[in-house]
C-alpha cells in the first residue's frame, strides 16, 4: 500500500521538506525586509539618513523623530489620531448594528419585495467606490458635510457586504428559539436583541475588525472631503508630512510607523481570526 510514498526519514523527503522551508523563508524575508528597513531607518539621526550610501543599521539609534511628532504642538497628531479613532469606532458600532439588524430581517422574515430589496443590496456590493465618488462628493457638499468628520461616517451607515455576511450567518440559526420567545411574549425587536445578537459574537467581531481596519487605512474618500489640517485622519497626516518634510525624512518614517502600529497591535492578537475570515469571505 505504501509503496511510492516517500518515507518520513528518507533522503528525498528531508530534501523536499528543507527545500520547502528555504523557499518559504526567502518569501518571509522579502515580506518583512521593507518593514524592517524603515523601522531601523526611523531610528537614524538626520546625518545618517542623508548619508550615501547609507548603513543598514543606525550607528547611534535615536527616538527623536518619534518624540518630535508626539510633542511638537505645530503637528496636530493628537487631534488627527482622535479623528481616526472616532471615525473608525463610530463606523464599527453603526455598521455592526445595521448589518446584523438588516441581516436578521432578510434571514428570518418573509415580506413582499424581499428579493427586490436584497437585489438593491447586491448592487451596492457590485459598484466600485471610484465610480460613484464624484456624485457622492457633490451629495456631501449639498448636505453641508464637506470638511466634517461626519462626511466619513454618515454615507457609510449601511454596509451591503456586512448585511450579506450577517444574513448568511443568521439563516443557519434554528428558528425554534425564536418561536419559543414569541410564545413567551417577546417582541420581534426583543428577539433580535435577546436571542439573535448574543449568538453572533464571532461574525460581529470579524466584521468589526474589518470595518475598523479598512476605515483606519482609508485614504481616497478622506482626501476628497477633508481639507483643514485639524480634520485630517492619520493617513492624510502622513501624506502631508511627506510633502512638507522632504528635508526631514525621519519624521515621515516615524509617522508611517505610527500609522501601522495600531493595526499591527490588533493583528498580533487576532491574526488567525482575521486570516480565516478573509479566506471565507472571498467565496460567499
Amino acid at each position: 500500500m505504501t509503496i511510492g510514498i516517500p518515507k518520513k526519514n528518507s533522503v528525498g523527503f528531508v530534501l523536499g521538506k528543507s527545500g520547502a522551508y528555504i523557499i518559504l523563508i526567502i518569501g518571509l524575508v522579502a515580506t518583512l525586509l521593507p518593514f524592517f528597513y524603515i523601522i531601523v531607518s526611523s531610528l537614524k539621526n538626520e546625518a545618517e539618513l542623508r548619508q550615501t550610501p547609507p548603513d543598514f543599521f543606525p550607528k547611534e539609534p535615536t527616538l527623536k523623530h518619534y518624540i518630535t511628532i508626539l510633542t511638537d504642538e505645530k503637528i496636530p497628531l493628537v487631534q488627527n489620531l482622535f479623528n481616526s479613532i472616532f471615525v473608525s469606532l463610530s463606523r464599527v458600532v453603526i455598521t455592526l448594528f445595521t448589518s446584523s439588524f438588516a441581516g436578521y430581517i432578510f434571514a428570518k422574515y418573509h415580506f413582499k419585495g424581499k428579493d427586490l430589496a436584497f437585489g438593491v443590496i447586491l448592487i451596492q456590493i457590485m459598484i466600485p467606490f471610484q465610480v460613484v465618488m464624484i456624485p457622492n462628493y457633490l451629495l456631501v457638499v449639498k448636505l453641508g458635510l464637506i470638511d466634517s468628520l461626519w462626511a466619513l461616517i454618515i454615507p457609510a451607515f449601511v454596509d451591503a457586504y456586512g448585511i450579506f455576511m450577517m444574513k448568511q450567518f443568521i439563516e443557519a440559526m434554528p428558528g425554534e428559539l425564536m418561536d419559543a420567545a414569541r410564545i413567551d411574549g417577546a417582541s420581534e425587536f426583543g428577539i433580535y436583541m435577546k436571542i439573535i445578537l448574543p449568538q453572533m459574537g464571532p461574525p460581529l467581531a470579524s466584521l468589526g475588525i474589518f470595518t475598523f481596519m479598512s476605515t483606519w487605512n482609508d485614504y481616497l474618500w478622506p482626501l476628497i472631503v477633508l481639507t483643514s489640517p485639524e480634520k485630517r485622519t492619520i493617513p492624510l497626516l502622513v501624506v502631508w508630512f511627506q510633502t512638507q518634510h522632504v528635508s526631514n525624512q525621519g519624521l515621515v518614517l516615524a509617522a508611517s510607523i505610527l500609522t501601522l502600529l495600531p493595526i499591527f497591535f490588533v493583528y498580533i492578537f487576532l491574526q488567525r481570526w482575521i486570516v480565516d475570515q478573509a479566506t471565507s469571505s472571498a467565496f460567499k
Partner: protein
C-alpha cells in the same frame, strides 16, 4: 411540553395576525435601510450616468435638477466621443490611462499567481504551527495602510541610496539611476516605473490570494493526493495532475477578483509615481480623480470616464458570479 403545544396551536390558528405583525416589523426595519441605500448608492450611480451626458462644472449656474442644464448644457454622447477619439488633453491622457491600467493588470495577475500558487502548495505541506506563523506574516502587508506602504516603497526605490539600489550593487549589478522617474528605461514595452509599481503592489497584495489558495488546498481530500502517490506520481506530477485541476475553479475566481481590484488601485499610483514619468503610470482611477478633484475640469467628462471603468468592472463581476454559480464537487 403540553402547554407549549397548546400555545403553538393557538399561534397557528392566529397565524394571520402574527404574520401581519411580523411583516410590519420587517418593513419598519428594512424601509429606512433601503431609503438610505437609495440616497447613498442608487441615487449617486444614476447621477453619475446622467452627469456623463452633460458638460458640468459645479461653479456654473444650472437648473434646479442637480445643477444640470442652463450653463451646464446637455451634450449627448459628446463626452464619450471625446474620450474615444477627441484631441483634448484629458481625453488623450485618459486613453493612455486605459492602456496603462490594462498593462498593470496584465502584469499583476501572472506575477501574483506565480508567487502565490507555489508558495501556497509549500505552505500547505509543512507543520500546522509553522503554517499559521508563516501565513500570518505573509498576510501582514495586506492589512497595512497603503499610505504607509507607499512611504516604505519610496524608500526601497530611492535613487542611489534606496535599499534596492544597495542590494543591486551588493550582488554586482548596476542599479538604474532612477527607479521611478526615468521615462526612457523600457523593458519589453514595459516602462521601468510601471514595473516598480507592479512589484510594490504585488508585494502588498499577494497575501490575500495566498491564504485563499492555502484554504482551497486544505479542502482537497487527502485521499486524492495519496492515491496519486500510490499510483507512482512524483511531487511535480501530483501538483500538475491533481492539485492544479482541482484548484482551477478557485484560481479562476481569485483571478477575476485580482483583476477587479487591480483596475481600482489608486493610492500607490497617486503617491509613489503621481502618474509619471510622462504619464507612464497614469491609470483610469487616477485620471478620474485628477480631472474631477485636482484640475476641477468638466465633471461630465470625469463621469463618462467612471462609466467606462464601471462597465469594464461590471462585465468582470458578472463573470465572477457565473463562476460562483457553477456547481463543484470533488
Amino acid at each position: 411540553m403540553a402547554i407549549n403545544t397548546f400555545f403553538k396551536k393557538e399561534i397557528i390558528s392566529d397565524s394571520g395576525k402574527l404574520m401581519a405583525k411580523q411583516r410590519r416589523f420587517a418593513y419598519t426595519g428594512i424601509v429606512p435601510i433601503l431609503l438610505y441605500m437609495g440616497l447613498f448608492t442608487l441615487f449617486p450611480i444614476l447621477w453619475a450616468v446622467i452627469m456623463s451626458f452633460f458638460s458640468y462644472t459645479p461653479i456654473r449656474e444650472g437648473s434646479w435638477f442637480l445643477g444640470l442644464g442652463g450653463q451646464n448644457p446637455f451634450v449627448g454622447i459628446k463626452n464619450y466621443i471625446e474620450l474615444f477619439s477627441g484631441t483634448g488633453k484629458p481625453a488623450e491622457v485618459f486613453r493612455l490611462a486605459v492602456k496603462n491600467t490594462f498593462l498593470f493588470t496584465a502584469l499583476v495577475l501572472p506575477m501574483n499567481l506565480i508567487i502565490t500558487l507555489p508558495l501556497a502548495v509549500l505552505l500547505e505541506s509543512i507543520g500546522e504551527r509553522f503554517k499559521t506563523l508563516f501565513r500570518a506574516i505573509y498576510f501582514l502587508p495586506t492589512i497595512s495602510s497603503s499610505v504607509a506602504l507607499v512611504i516604505i516603497w519610496s524608500y526601497m526605490y530611492a535613487p542611489g541610496w534606496g535599499l534596492l539600489s544597495i542590494m543591486f550593487k551588493t550582488i554586482g549589478l548596476v542599479p538604474p539611476k532612477s527607479w521611478l522617474q526615468d521615462p526612457n528605461t523600457i523593458y519589453l514595452g514595459v516602462p521601468l516605473a510601471m514595473l516598480c509599481v507592479v512589484v510594490a503592489h504585488v508585494w502588498q497584495d499577494f497575501g490575500y490570494n495566498l491564504v485563499i489558495f492555502v484554504a482551497a488546498l486544505q479542502s482537497i481530500p487527502k485521499t486524492l493526493r495519496e492515491a496519486a502517490r500510490v499510483d507512482g506520481a512524483n511531487l511535480w506530477q501530483e501538483f500538475w495532475l491533481v492539485v492544479v485541476p482541482l484548484l482551477s475553479r478557485t484560481v479562476m475566481l481569485t483571478s477575476v477578483l485580482t483583476v477587479i481590484s487591480s483596475l481600482q488601485v489608486f493610492v500607490i499610483f497617486q503617491l509613489l509615481t503621481r502618474g509619471g514619468p510622462q504619464n507612464q503610470t497614469q491609470t483610469m482611477v487616477l485620471s478620474i480623480y485628477e480631472n474631477a478633484f485636482r484640475f476641477a475640469n468638466n465633471l461630465g467628462l470625469s463621469s463618462a470616464m467612471s462609466m467606462i471603468l464601471f462597465i469594464i468592472i461590471l462585465i468582470l463581476t458578472v463573470t465572477q458570479f457565473r463562476i460562483l454559480r457553477t456547481e463543484w464537487e470533488y
